[in-house]
């Protein structure tokens, strides 16, 4: 195995990122003379997990779509729609004091709504061969425009009033974290251990061969794109269920997490588990702020918030040559 091949393995990439994060922590801790055990607390881990959950869900969806040959760059937009639909459902069912039941129904409704929207996106991209990059960007614009618009119609303001967040279960953890863990594990099994998973991979690598074998390439692609939208919507709904209210100002409460999700799966080399680990590392980076404040390190929150974005650039450059599936971005038309 050459060095290049070795370096492109998921474990090596993740190890590299983890090492870089650890070094960054250590340098900061030594620089500001803070004992590491006060930085790495159980609370930090739990907050990081919570932060990583929406990213991991969207990333798993996105990687399925891209594995099958469709680059769903609209994850950010679908997350915005998911978060908004969850908030709207919760408000319409329970007013400003929704119950836990309402929170769960809201998440299901959010997935239903985003799946419906994704169906339209899928038809445009697959049937009408729309440019995938441009159409995905459009989804982002649509989310940035219509979610705050509908919020303003509903609440008279771009953000919702305080609704309800999900109650923690054992150890003060959100039940959505293990739920996302299950989704990630199932996604891994299906992609690498089932015949359908191989079809998905073939649809992205060699659609002609799959077609010859009698499998409808575009049907697979519809399924994965719908799944990607549903997962991004679920990610947005999870974000909302953790936060408890919708924020539609600025880049909305999703605030770039959909983009980070894309990088997470690129970084995990299209492996669902790798993507989830990358999401966790980004989540941890994001939560550093809180840690710095609690141990009294005086760094601007605004600057620390930029760390994930910087990390993404470093990661993409160091491992930029992620091998995309061959047929990504190309519409497929059966010869018959």
């Amino acid at each position: 195995m050459s060095v290049g091949e070795y370096a492109s393995r998921t474990e090596v990439r993740l190890g590299g990122l983890a090492l870089a994060v650890a070094v960054a922590f250590t340098v900061l801790a030594v620089e500001f003379d803070v004992p590491l055990d006060r930085l790495f607390t159980a609370g930090f881990l739990s907050r990081s997990l919570e932060m990583a959950t929406p990213i991991a869900l969207a990333a798993v969806g996105g990687l399925y779509a891209e594995k099958s040959g469709v680059f769903n760059i609209g994850l950010e937009g679908f997350m915005i729609f998911g978060a908004f639909s969850a908030a709207a459902t919760m408000y319409l069912l329970g007013g400003e004091t929704p119950t836990q039941g309402h929170v769960w129904i809201a998440m299901v409704a959010a997935v239903a709504v985003t799946t419906l929207l994704t169906a339209a996106f899928a038809v445009l991209v697959i049937r009408y061969e729309a440019d995938q990059i441009v159409a995905g960007l459009a989804v982002w614009f649509l989310g940035l425009g219509f979610a705050p618009f509908t919020a303003a119609v509903l609440w008279g303001s771009r953000s919702s009033p305080g609704l309800a967040s999900i109650d923690p279960i054992a150890f003060g953890q959100s039940p959505l974290i293990p739920l996302a863990g299950l989704v990630v594990a199932a996604a891994w099994v299906i992609l690498y251990r089932t015949r359908y998973g191989y079809w998905i991979q073939a649809a992205g690598e060699n659609p002609e061969a799959l077609d010859t074998a009698g499998v409808d390439v575009n049907r697979i692609r519809y399924a994965t794109v719908l799944f990607s939208g549903a997962m991004a919507g679920l990610g947005g709904a999870v974000l909302l269920a953790h936060a408890g209210n919708f924020v539609g100002t600025g880049d909305t409460m999703v605030d770039g997490r959909g983009w980070i999700a894309i990088v997470a799966y690129l970084f995990g080399n299209y492996n669902p588990i790798g993507a989830a680990v990358a999401a966790l590392l980004f989540g941890g980076l994001d939560m550093l702020n809180v840690q710095f404040q609690t141990v009294g390190i005086d760094v601007s929150a605004r600057l620390v918030n930029l760390l994930p974005y910087v990390a993404v650039i470093v990661v993409l450059t160091a491992w930029g040559k992620t091998r995309m599936p061959d047929a990504v971005g190309e519409p497929y038309e059966s010869e018959e």
């Binding site: 425009g145 600057l303 918030n305």
Partner: protein, 376 residues
């Protein structure tokens, strides 16, 4: 050898001409149909939200071209959309997706303000000082914007990093970092809002034609000059030719001796220079100081829509920019004079982009309705 490469160039010329020019009419048709469909859906949504769509439509017209003030406001927004749209178009035309125009625009505008504010004390007041400061500020913007765009270009060309993702990340970084600088080191301690010091009173562009203090004929001339300059560079120079062919025919371009990596970097830099210039015009003509960039307006993002609507043609960006300027201007009017939330207009912009991305949809619609030619 020279004969062979000459033939190759002829073939390339012909191919590039065909790709770029053959379907101009069709593209215009698709752009107009996309806009009309998006606006129609917008009106349906207005009606569904319980407002009067006809009233909303008339607000759109009155708010964009209904009075001298509205026209001046439309032209002011259009100047920004055309400049940022040209920046996007330059890159897209060369097959490089510069989603980072917003970041380059912010970095450029901030560089302008910082340069002018820090140079002002050492230069004489009045007319000469004004000219020198404006030139220095613009130069700073152009350099800052160009460098900020060159970075993702270098990362793509030599690190293989996807420029779509890196430029989006660099937008977040520019907005956060400049916001930090404006709030901290470069903040005006006497201002109540988060902003830098104001530009000196004598620094600014003359506005002889319009009453609007935030619209100058010089700004409009800069816009026209940039459009003409970029159109000339892409259509009439060796650099522009190489840029466009490497966008449409990568292998052919490298066959004719174009260094693909260098081309990516110079294309991004060119695009960033224009974006930085847009930032300078924004800072000098409209703001007069720099605020937290999360609130300066999404010109760089909407510019993507402008460019796509114009099929990434530098001249086509002018009508597309006017349309977006009109929509934005109507948005300010709508916000004051009606209950319809102004974010609807951002949504309509998204719809325009979505439809522009799917020309097949309109070809099919044209076929179904019998409007298109028999060969479509």
């Amino acid at each position: 050898m020279s004969g062979a490469s000459g033939r190759a160039r002829d073939a390339l010329d012909a191919a590039a001409d065909r790709v770029l020019e053959a379907s101009v009419l069709e593209r215009i048709g698709i752009a107009m149909a996309s806009t009309a469909l998006a606006l129609a859906i917008g009106l349906v949504i207005v009606a569904a939200a319980g407002h009067d769509p006809l009233r909303f439509a008339s607000h759109l017209v009155v708010g964009s071209v209904g009075s001298e003030r509205a026209i001046a406001r439309t032209l002011r927004y259009s100047t920004m959309f055309v400049l940022t749209g040209v920046a996007v178009a330059v890159a897209f035309r060369a097959g490089v997706f510069n989603i980072g125009v917003q970041g380059q625009f912010v970095v450029g505008g901030f560089a302008t303000v910082v340069t002018i504010v820090s140079l002002a004390p050492v230069l004489p007041d009045g007319g000469l000082g004004n000219v020198v400061l404006l030139l220095a500020g613009t130069l700073a913007a152009v350099v800052a914007g160009g460098l900020y765009a060159a970075l993702p270009g270098v990362l793509k060309a030599y690190g293989g990093a996807n420029e779509i993702i890196t430029t989006i990340m660099l937008n977040f970084i520019a907005i956060g970092f400049v916001g930090w600088l404006v709030a901290g080191r470069f903040g005006d301690p006497e201002a109540t809002a988060t902003r830098t010091e104001r530009l000196p009173d004598y620094v600014g562009l003359p506005s002889p034609l319009f009453d609007d203090p935030n619209l100058s004929i010089v700004g409009l001339l800069v816009m026209v000059g940039v459009v003409a300059g970029v159109a000339f560079v892409t259509a009439r120079t060796r650099f522009g030719y190489d840029m466009v062919t490497s966008g449409y025919q990568e292998s052919a371009a490298s066959y004719s001796g174009v260094d693909a990596g260098r081309m990516i970097v110079s294309t991004m830099t060119f695009s960033g220079v224009v974006a930085g210039l847009a930032g300078a015009v924004f800072a000098i003509m409209i703001q007069g100081y720099y605020t937290d960039p999360s609130g300066v307006g999404n010109y760089g993002f909407d510019a993507i829509a402008v460019s796509l609507l114009a099929a990434n043609h530098p001249v086509g960006v002018v009508p597309a920019g006017l349309l977006f300027g009109g929509l934005e201007s109507a948005g300010s009017h709508v916000q004051i004079n009606s209950d319809v939330p102004v974010q609807l207009i951002d949504g309509v912009v998204g719809l325009v982009v979505l439809f522009v991305a799917a020309p097949e949809l309109f070809r099919m619609l044209a076929r179904r309705t019998g409007l298109g030619g028999a060969d479509r």
